[in-house]
């Protein structure tokens, strides 16, 4: 991180290698669209490097990046669901832009609202505590806990 802040391209690449796979996967699990997930994770990295000079070296890069990724993924998933709703109400041919869920857990996750998907992904893929998720998503901790509980209950019944 320090090397990247000093302008070292190789350190930036090391940072990318260390954090891209989980950031991309987290975005994909929230939006269920690989092209959109790629855009979200890429934009998050670009936003992060634009603000490298302001980054506090005492903090970890991962949570900072994940906060950007997950918040953007929630926004994208919400926008998509709004548009799908509009398609149906306008009577046009509905087109599900999401990719087919070819994994059981992915299918179960797909049935959740984006906000629940995000907390499940942050808790069980990225390993954050409910308190950390609450800070990252700017939510009350109780809301995080209830979204987690509802999300997991719904996934269990689906599985």
């Amino acid at each position: 991180m320090r090397g990247a802040q000093r302008g070292s391209a190789s350190d930036l690449e090391a940072l990318f290698d260390a954090h891209w796979p989980r950031a991309h996967r987290a975005a994909y699990l929230v939006v269920h669209d690989s092209a959109l997930a790629e855009d979200i994770a890429q934009e998050a990295f670009l936003a992060a490097i634009r603000n490298l000079d302001r980054f506090d070296r005492g903090r970890a890069f991962g949570p900072w990046l994940h906060r950007i990724v997950v918040n953007r993924a929630i926004d994208a998933a919400r926008a998509r669901s709004l548009r799908r709703e509009a398609e149906l109400t306008e009577g046009a041919a509905a087109e599900d832009a999401r990719e087919p869920a070819d994994s059981t857990v992915l299918a179960a996750l797909a049935g959740l609202p984006p906000e629940q998907r995000a907390v499940v992904v942050m808790r069980h893929l990225l390993g954050y505590t409910p308190g950390e998720i609450a800070r990252a998503l700017d939510l009350p901790r109780g809301t995080v806990n209830s979204r987690l509980r509802r999300g997991l209950d719904a996934m269990r019944s689906e599985l």
């Binding site: 930036l12 690989s34 092209a35 990295f45 509009a86 990719e99 994994s103």
Partner: protein, 377 residues
């Protein structure tokens, strides 16, 4: 649960990582702080002068040599840039977006802040503007007064087109791609779930180009019929979508693909940069099918002619955009790293004029965006 989530296959993951790595590394290289111009010691200054003189003497005799010389000369901004925008080099006002506000710059250099808008663009003859706020689409007089407004959620990418007597605005909001008459009536949904940018085909017909996933589509907005679809290459956000003045060519630019389509949707020119090179912007020279584009590779940006590949202008750092003057004689290049606008007249006798301190002139912390130089035709 954790193991299962970690094992869910992400389609195209390896290719996505490679693409993203190239973009991120290029962006990182491009944003490296540009060293401030140092005052060299006398010996160093003498050496630099001698080397430059030798290069100039040896290289300036040939066009490629001249390009090299200009690259050195213009490494961190054009020397002798004017400290303020005293006047534009060509007729027609500029529409600028800076720090969440729209501005009009007159050819005499006078600037007028229209108000707080997220974006704005000209009507076809420059009599009005269409602007957007968070939940409002507005038609404005160039003086800034509002003619009409529509409450819409997150409107954007608004484009106004038509003839002297019949104009239409296309825009995108949360419901999808919509059209509304130039007087603010008849607002309706054209296509759900689309996003910008949008481009009206010049002329009396109501034909609109827009992007859907990896396709570009041209649709008659009156009949709803899709006239043609074209493959625009890799599915990256579209940076520029523009018709030639005669409506016979359509230009589509994204980071890794530039396509020029003819009026039937056939690709007639393309550019697919590799090795971390990015397309940034491109535009037709008014009245022609000649395309000029910006490419960025590492910390170097270059404006070049698509057909010949000849460089028009290059420099260190980030060029954000290019905009032709309505008469097609001058090219405005936004050089963010140098905080300059560079006006280049590519035809002989070639001329370069630069203006420094652009952000401060629009009270902006970010580099202002040129929304249009009015008005073609």
């Amino acid at each position: 649960m954790r193991r299962e989530l970690a094992q869910v296959p992400v389609p195209d993951a390896d290719a996505a990582e490679q693409r993203a790595r190239a973009v991120v590394v290029s962006a990182f290289a491009a944003q490296e702080p540009v060293p401030a111009r140092r005052r060299p010691g006398r010996l160093a200054a003498a050496l630099v002068a001698a080397v430059l003189a030798a290069i100039v003497a040896g290289a300036a005799l040939s066009p490629p040599g001249r390009a090299v010389v200009e690259r050195i000369r213009e490494a961190v901004g054009v020397e002798d840039a004017e400290p303020a925008l005293f006047r534009l080099p060509a007729p027609g006002p500029l529409l600028i977006h800076a720090e969440d506000a729209a501005w009009i710059v007159r050819p005499d250099g006078s600037r007028r802040r229209l108000g707080a808008y997220r974006e704005a663009s000209w009507s076809p003859f420059g009599r009005y503007l269409v602007a957007a706020r968070a939940n409002e689409l507005l038609a404005l007089e160039p003086g800034g007064s509002t003619r009409w407004s529509l409450a819409r959620r997150a409107p954007g990418h608004a484009r106004w087109a038509g003839t002297q007597t019949d104009t239409t605005i296309a825009y995108v909001d949360r419901t999808g791609l919509r059209v509304v008459a130039g007087d603010g009536t008849g607002d309706r949904l054209l296509s759900p779930a689309e996003d910008g940018p949008l481009a009206w085909r010049p002329g009396a017909r109501h034909e609109l180009a827009y992007v859907k996933a990896s396709e570009v589509r041209v649709q008659d907005t009156e009949s709803g019929r899709v006239l043609w679809r074209g493959n625009r290459g890799l599915n990256f956000p579209v940076l520029a979508l523009e018709w030639s003045t005669d409506g016979r060519r359509l230009l589509v630019v994204s980071a890794y693909a530039l396509r020029v389509f003819d009026e039937r949707g056939r690709v007639v020119a393309q550019d697919d940069p590799s090795d971390g090179t990015l397309e940034v912007d491109a535009a037709f020279r008014p009245g022609t099918h000649e395309v000029v584009a910006i490419r960025r590779h590492g910390s170097q940006s270059t404006v070049f002619h698509l057909r010949s590949g000849k460089p028009v202008f290059s420099g260190t750092g980030v060029f954000t955009e290019l905009e032709w003057s309505p008469d097609g004689r001058w090219l405005l290049i936004g050089w963010e790293t140098a905080d300059q606008w560079v006006f280049v007249r590519p035809a002989a006798p070639r001329r370069i004029r630069a203006v420094a301190g652009i952000s401060a002139q629009f009270d902006s912390r970010g580099f202002p965006r040129v929304e249009g130089w009015c008005c073609p035709g």
